[in-house]
């Protein structure tokens, strides 16, 4: 069976003022439809760069990226991105922020009422129906991030790309949103690629964890299959030896084999 997302020998070299900087090299990754992939690694390892490559926000300097057998060229609404810092437009309400995406994707096919219903439904899905008419400045960080997720989901993307979506949130809110995300992904059967630096988050949410070596010229160090049965429950997993085993494998990779080099810069 063909993989849904295919990354073949991809590499990324930035031309900076100080000369060429190779962020990624020799990335090979196949992602199946409906799979949840976590990208983990120390900061500066290029995991966000890899996500941006899939999003099409930057173009790979080497290799090819395919989505459903089509080459990825430039960004597009079939790849919904949830940005690290939510990136909501502060002058639009939560509803309008989501509607902007809905209008773009379904504007030709559906009536206004249908699109409005769609927007309301997706806000309902992330539990924000009550805050639909609030501006981003009036809601909490967790709610903003949920609007960001709603905006990405509303486009019914082929792949959902999450760039450290819960990084800026407090631990309790983060846990809550992780649970929500698991439910949403189970309901929508989305294909997800998520960048994270949180080992627990990676093990809890993903089917496979892609562990990246340190940059510059980072590549995939190891891929760990997470064979925990779904639906997963964080409380039960806390007592699951399998979970702890997976967790320590990731920790082992990050802190023993890819020990972050002494901060030079």
């Amino acid at each position: 069976m063909q993989s849904y997302v295919q990354i073949e020998n991809a590499g990324m070299t930035f031309s900076t003022r100080k000369g060429k900087f190779t962020a990624l090299t020799g990335i090979n990754l196949h992602i199946d439809q409906g799979e949840f992939i976590a990208l983990i690694g120390h900061s500066g390892c290029g995991k966000s760069t890899l996500l941006n490559l899939i999003a099409g926000l930057i173009d790979a300097t080497d290799g090819v990226l395919l989505l459903a057998n089509k080459e990825i060229r430039g960004p597009g609404p079939e790849r919904g991105v949830v940005f690290q810092n939510h990136s909501l437009l502060p002058w639009l309400t939560a509803f309008e922020n989501v509607y902007l995406a809905v209008e773009k994707v379904f504007g030709d096919k559906e009536s206004k009422a249908q699109m409005k219903a769609r927007t309301s439904a997706v806000l309902e899905l992330v539990g924000l129906a009550h805050a639909a008419n609030k501006l981003p400045g009036e809601i909490s960080g967790g709610m903003k991030q949920r609007v960001g997720i709603a905006r990405a989901l509303a486009m019914e993307p082929k792949v959902l790309l999450l760039d450290e979506p819960f990084g800026a949130l407090d631990a309790l809110t983060r846990a809550h949103l992780q649970d929500e995300l698991m439910k949403i992904v189970a309901a929508t059967k989305s294909t997800v690629v998520m960048v994270t630096h949180d080992v627990d988050e990676a093990v809890l949410l993903s089917d496979r964890i892609v562990m990246m070596t340190n940059g510059p010229a980072a590549s995939i160090g190891e891929i760990l299959a997470v064979d925990l049965p779904r639906p997963r429950d964080r409380l039960q997993l806390a007592h699951d030896p399998n979970y702890h085993d997976l967790r320590s494998q990731v920790l082992e990779f990050l802190y023993s084999r890819q020990m972050r080099p002494k901060e030079a810069a």
Partner: protein
Amino acid sequence: MNAVTLNETLSQTLAAPETGRLPAAAPELPPRRTPLFETEGGKRFLEGLGHAVKAAIPPVLGLALFVALWALIANSGAKIPGPGETWAAAVELFSDPFYNNGPNDQGIGWNILNSLYRVGIGFGFAALIGIPLGFLIGRFSFLNQMMSPIISLLRPVSPLAWLPIGLLVLQKAEPASIWVIFISSIWPMVLNTAAGVQRIPQDYMNVARVLNLSEFKVFTRILFPAVLPYVLTGVRLSIGVAWLVIVAAEMLTGGVGIGFWVWDEWNNLNVAHIIIAIFVVGIVGLLLEQGLMLVAKRFSYE
């Protein structure tokens, strides 16, 4: 503890004679109406009044100091009329602001309105051209690099240096002074708008790219709202400059206007009127700026 006992004794002594004086079978008094200042709204009003008074003390003190200093200088033999004299002249002047005795003798109201009209036209054209130009410069770096030497060269030129060019090309004093307003007030709007466009967070543009928004949607939903605060800052600076320049321009070109009026009163040696003109220019400038601040607040989304 002392205070409490004192209060108690006080209230007892106060209450005692009252009960003594009132007959036991006094007719029942109608329930006392709550005085205004004991209601919630009244209390809030009093509190607000207190804050307002507190906030007003420093500026009032500053103004008082200013007037005192002015009076001191006026009394120490300088040929400057003091506050009292100026006030009297102002009352007389403003009692009939709209008389018209020919082009060289019109009321202060006409002078102010004429100056405002020139500022309005010159500044209006500057906004009409400067703001779109700023958008283009901010959006296309080629244009930015193309325009930046011209702007750098022309911006520091003193406004009045443009007057001869205006007189030469336009042949008349009136459009020449409008031209001076235009050319000196356009730069803050161009530069601020361009800076605003360049400073739009990359995140917003990424959203636009992921959503594949059309150029029109990018402009209406992202560029315009994101840049509006910068545009308004530019407008505010510009109107300040325009009002600054009009006095000088009118001194040179003549006609009816506050700047010409100052020069005319100088020729009449009416110093009190010159001081009044200074206040008028200051107050009108302040009002223009405050008005635009209100508009800016209305449109800021933060």
